[in-house]
């Protein structure tokens, strides 16, 4: 019964928190640009608007299936990502499993965009996958370092280990260099400037979104909510001690995303190859130093 509640609650909570994260990102951007910013319910209005559109253009079965894979992949990921009070199925699939489940929606999106037969979409996916290769190299170094340091890949255990001695036993305190590299990779993962090569509005007509309209676009919007939530929660779980309860937990998640959205607005966009070079040089280098410290310890 608890499990059933977990299965339903975890994706729902993720969606609601994700909406709030999207709102925060937009408000922060508005403040930097000295605008008022959107009202509180704007993300909800956006989704309703997209789903309610009259024409819903589909580019074949794979296009539709992609939307299902996209939602299904993230719903699954949320169920394997433990949060305060809700462990879900985290005992049956560990951090490595979660990382690979998170690639299922990426793959779904890529297949869907590909079947739209729009070159801008394909270029967007080419760049998105290239970016993934760029930021995931430092990210796997961080993950391997963290797992070796904690001695487990079980996310519930990782949270418990960090909560034993308060902030002093948080991953960010025991392996600060690795945590810093993780933050850089996380920023790349969110696809924000200067790493937003695959959205690139004026360059490739927003890439993967080119042929998406109506509820297809709406699903991408929902995906963005899930993505912000998942990335923020995963970082919090790995380095910021998770949370004993939601009161301590949510501010950490928002802080992780806040750092990213606050920084992003002052940057332009890198070229694709520069993203790779930067990611493989700085975050990877820093992560390797952090890994070396973990191994020496």
């Amino acid at each position: 019964m608890t499990l059933l509640a977990d299965l339903i609650l975890m994706p729902l909570v993720a969606f609601v928190v994700g909406l709030l994260l999207v709102l925060m990102a937009r408000r922060v951007r508005a403040k930097i640009e000295r605008r008022v910013g959107p009202p509180f319910l704007q993300p909800v209005y956006d989704i309703v608007k997209l789903y309610a559109k009259k024409t819903q253009v589909s580019h074949g079965v794979m296009h539709d299936l992609a939307i299902m894979m996209l939602l299904g992949g993230f719903i699954t990921a949320e169920i394997f990502l433990p949060v305060p009070g809700l462990d879900g199925l985290a005992e049956h699939g560990d951090l490595i499993t979660l990382v690979y489940i998170m690639m299922v929606p990426m793959l779904g999106l890529a297949l869907g965009v590909g079947s739209c037969a729009n070159p801008n979409g394909s270029i967007g996916i080419s760049r998105a996958l290239t970016a993934m290769l760029a930021y995931d190299v430092p990210y796997v170094v961080v993950i391997v370092g963290a797992c070796i340091s904690y001695g487990t890949t079980n996310l519930i255990d990782i949270v418990q280990i960090q909560q034993q001695g308060g902030p002093a036993t948080w991953g960010a305190a025991t392996m600060p260099i690795l945590a810093f590299a993780g933050l850089l990779a996380t920023h790349g993962m969110l696809g924000k400037e200067p790493f937003e090569i695959y959205i690139a509005p004026a360059e490739i007509a927003t890439g993967p979104m080119t042929e998406m309209s109506g509820k297809y676009m709406g699903a991408l919007f929902v995906m963005q909510c899930f993505q912000l939530y998942t990335v923020g929660v995963l970082y919090t779980t790995m380095f910021l001690g998770g949370g004993e309860n939601w009161l301590f937990f949510l501010p950490k998640v928002f802080a992780v995303i806040f750092i990213s959205v606050a920084v992003t607005n002052v940057y332009g966009r890198y070229k694709t190859d520069d993203v790779i070079r930067w990611m493989w040089k700085w975050p990877t280098g820093i992560a390797l130093v952090g890994l070396a410290l973990v191994m020496v310890r």
């Binding site: 580019h59 539709d64 391997v144």
Partner: protein, 635 residues
Amino acid sequence: MPFALPFDMTSLDLLMAIAAAATVLLYLFGTARLGGYLATLLHGAALAVTVAMGLDLAAGAGAIPSSLRLTVLGQQLAWTLDGLGWFFLLLTTGAAFFSSWYMAGEWGRVQQRARIQHGTLALNVLTMVLLLSAGDLLGLFIGWEFVSWAAFAMMIQAGGPATQAAYRYMLYALAGAMALFAAILVVHGAAGGFGFDQMRAALPDMSTGMLWTLFALFAGGFGVKMALVPTHLWQAPAYSYTPGASSAFLNAVSARMGLFALILSLVKLIGFDTLAGLRIPMTGIESTDILAWVAAITMVVPTYIALMQTDARMLLTWHGIGQGGYMLLGILVATPLGVAGGLLHVFNYATYQMALILAVFAVIHRTGTADLDELGGLITRMPLTYVALLMGIIGLAGLPPMNGFVSKWMIYKALIVTQQPLLSIAAFVGTLGTILSVYKLIHNIFLGQLRVEHREIREAPWSMTLPMLVLAGIGFVTGFAPGLALSIVDQAQAAMGVALLPHHLGGVVLATGSLNMLWVVGVLVGAIGVGALIFYVLGNRRFETHQYDNYAGGHFLSADIRYHFSHEFYPGLARVIGPWYRGWVVRMEHGLGVLAEVSGDLWHGVFRAAYTPLYVLIVAVLGLFWAGGAGGFGS
């Protein structure tokens, strides 16, 4: 045996008889109208016998003997099949069954020399049976030679670039055979015989230098077949340009014979404990560390070479080389988890790689090309082939819900648990490259713009789509319930003398984080169902637009404009790693070519210059070296 056999035949005898009969019959009648179905029937029978053997082994039969006997140099050679050999045999007969099924219908009929293809396939199975059931070192050597030549016969049938590559392969294989022969001589010198037990008994008395020699000779000799770096250059062209079903068979199991022989020689005979004791002085680097790093490089470098390919077959075979690295690396971790992961990957890889290769050849069958720059949009024309390829690439990329994820998960996990960070990172980085590469494969063939000349193409016939869909289905089922495949792996692991990995139907329970694929896949499928519900229930009805009713950048796109983004699919990445590729890989290939040429010339010169004192000198020096080695330098 669940059924009685005449003339005191064992099941291994029966299998050998079937394989031998198949070789002769198919060579004679392979071109006949029903020749393909005869082949499927014979290979199906061989598969059934193999499965029956597995039941015997699972019931505690130990090893299955054969009545085949041969006396060489006063030594009696015998053939017996244990769990390890059986595991690889199951893959062999299974792969042969699916290959012949694929060839049985339309595909076989349009081949010019179907009987050669059927005949060489059956010959390969026969030689592999001999290799896998070798009961001593000499039997192993004989089997190894047969397997090499049988594979060679299969590769040269198409002519062209495959033949070129096959010659290169033969060069490496002969060098490998020489290494193996030298190793056997070393063992014979120390143990006084060719028997596996004799070798094991002689091991404690061998000097460190001798053990290092054996390690290097076995690893080098058998590594060639696995195309371990730096002997990797032959495999991709040789396997790619071999026709369809033969190519799938070569990809799925041929290179695995190298892995079998490596496991047999290094793990079963020499043993992990002895290997761990072999260290480079002053460094603490163990012999297995060296091999693990070779495996890691094999995992990463060929994967990124695959990413640069423009031929679908080459892309897949380069990945095949990389995947071999995962298997070897998993086994070298030497924990029950790592070994099970490595062996499970052998099984999983065979299923999805065969499905992939067969799907690509189905595309070639219909369109006449495997050039990734000249295809596109075939999803609407060949949907079943698309499904097989999609499931295959998810397996190859190692993502849930397919089986490739489970074995790779076990390998990552084993590396992390044994605290080998750099090797773990190499394993992860190899997988990342694979994801990019397989997306390019499916995108360039099946997604994007359909070419005008492909508008009327039909789906491949059922005789071709069914085998690949069944293979993809096996990949899904063993991903959902990996316990099924792990039970098969147990046979091999027990025969290797490695402790078994406790598992259940859905995966493994470990103190450091478990995996239960029943939950992972169940939830994933359920959640995709929820996604479907959201998609269909919420929002307005969808309206399907035709592909040619599309526009980009303000222009309507029509069929006569080629706009499929396929050429140089990852330009940004190519700009970064392209120079490394050209600089490092191409230079290495050139270097190896020059090395082979120079050493060839050198030996040619030596043989031609009938200069007896030189021979005497070389033999004397080698003899002294030999005596020094056997006498125990470094011990």
